[in-house]
Symmetry: C2
Subunit: 265 residues, 2 copies
DNA sequence: CAGTGGTCTAGACCACCAC
DNA sequence: TGGTGGTCTAGACCACTGC
């Protein structure tokens, strides 16, 4: 009887974790594996599909299959993050400190735009008191700043490898015409600028979900189409409870662990 | 040219989200879908595989394919959780409050045992100061309570549907012979009992990772073999920094979102 | 051009379930 | 026994890469 694709996936997983197929190295071609295991190519392909979704391997058409290199990265969402922010300001500080410990040079690219906010973002910014089921068709003529947001889209790299996307949204009536629209937000970063404007972030929430990567994310993060990403929706509110920032952070799930730390009471 | 499996998966996803295939209802058989889309059964099967991994459908051999029913559940890891704990005690209180809001009756089953702790748990309990790379082969003769743990394995249900597994580990030298070994830990739950013993939890950390479900989890949580679960490793420490509880919480990733809330400073 | 993976087909056998 | 999904095969065509 022929081997099943699960068995083959297990065997290949074993070879990867034991280093028989080294990180960054190549796997034999599907034809070669099919011959070795005496199964059809389709069966090998299905086994590799499982490993791709797990993020163990990376497949390039016309080239071949390689073992992924980056180790597990830790994202400290509370605790360490605050300490780092004090030093170098903003989430970027935390991100850099985190990866520097692992010996990676980090780099990030920021692009600032002004856009009409999505329904979800709008709801967080100002329509929290509106029932969920409300029709959103009303008032299509409103294009005022109340529905616009300054958007800071940041791409982050460890070495040359893209590892994270973070998109910050700021209400236009707060951020418009301020340094928040600059690519470099200066000492203390965006949170310090929000404080300067009288909207110092005081309360935070993060909502962690899992989803399949979008096409853009697949392309930028060099993922497989079936791969999963964490989406962290971080909301910062000032001391009056007004949402002053929504940050959508996207990370390949196979590569990151999220750590939260806090004290009782 | 025939339709690709991605296209078909997208079409079926659409039919599910629009309610054309109602929650709890049946999908046409693979043969029927193959005929409808004019593709081979294998192609339909591959499309369904994607939806299974996403948790949209549930497949039973010999029976058919049904649309999953439970909505997204929210697990409040900080904030609400503390309030709930004060009322009814322990993590169970938070869990029940959470689902009661959604109109579900909850039930949980607890099984208490005493076991030799895994390396990972041991490390958290007492070997935190030992370098990660240290050989663990030393001292194989030690079977004292320092390496044993009281284990509280809890299975949680929403209605009749199993939704979560939580396994709490407590150092034997603290928990041995105490009410922590009882199935019902009384008012305030396990945390209150730890406080009674002079080890009130003061610091918490949670480490969120994603992995494929184990066979046991697949069977208990009624998952598909390829499906993902969150594993939350929660560590509670007393005011001296000693780890007094490790809790491993497993949740189907398609069904839960994790929410963390905290204040600045 | 040859080599790689992406994907589809048509047919087949099996395990499991309800009847 | 007939219907369901699980899975494998052998062959095929395509797109993409690197030479």
């Amino acid at each position: 009887m022929p081997l099943g694709y699960r068995t083959i996936a297990g065997e290949l997983r074993e070879r990867i974790t034991t280093g028989q197929y080294a990180p960054g190295g190549r796997l034999p071609s599907e034809d070669a594996l099919a011959a070795e295991f005496k199964v059809s190519r389709q069966t090998v392909n299905k086994a590799l599909l499982a490993l791709r979704t797990e993020g163990l391997i990376r497949v390039e058409r016309g080239i071949g299959t390689t073992v992924r290199e980056l180790p597990m990265l830790t994202s400290r969402r509370i605790g360490r993050q605050r300490a780092a922010s004090r030093e170098s300001g903003s989430a970027r500080g935390a991100f850099q400190a985190e990866l520097a410990e692992l010996g990676y040079e980090t780099r990030s690219e920021v692009q600032v735009t002004k856009e009409r906010a999505s329904d979800r973002i709008m709801q967080i910014f100002g329509l929290d008191d509106v029932p969920e089921g409300r029709s959103r068709k009303a008032d299509p003529q409103r294009q005022d700043t109340g529905h616009m947001a300054v958007v800071r889209a940041r791409k982050m790299f460890a070495g040359e490898v893209p590892v994270q996307l973070a998109t910050g949204y700021y209400p236009a009536d707060i951020a418009d015409g301020t340094p928040i629209e600059d690519e470099d937000t200066g000492t203390g970063g965006t949170y310090s600028r929000l404080a300067d404007l009288g909207h110092a972030p005081a309360f935070f929430s993060e909502r962690v979900t899992l989803r399949v990567a979008s096409d853009d994310e697949v392309s930028f993060l060099r993922l497989d189409a079936e791969q999963r990403v964490y989406e962290v929706e971080r909301v910062a509110r000032d001391d009056r409870g007004r949402a002053v920032e929504v940050n959508l952070i996207v990370m390949p799930a196979h590569q990151w662990e999220l750590v939260y730390e806090w004290a009782a009471e």
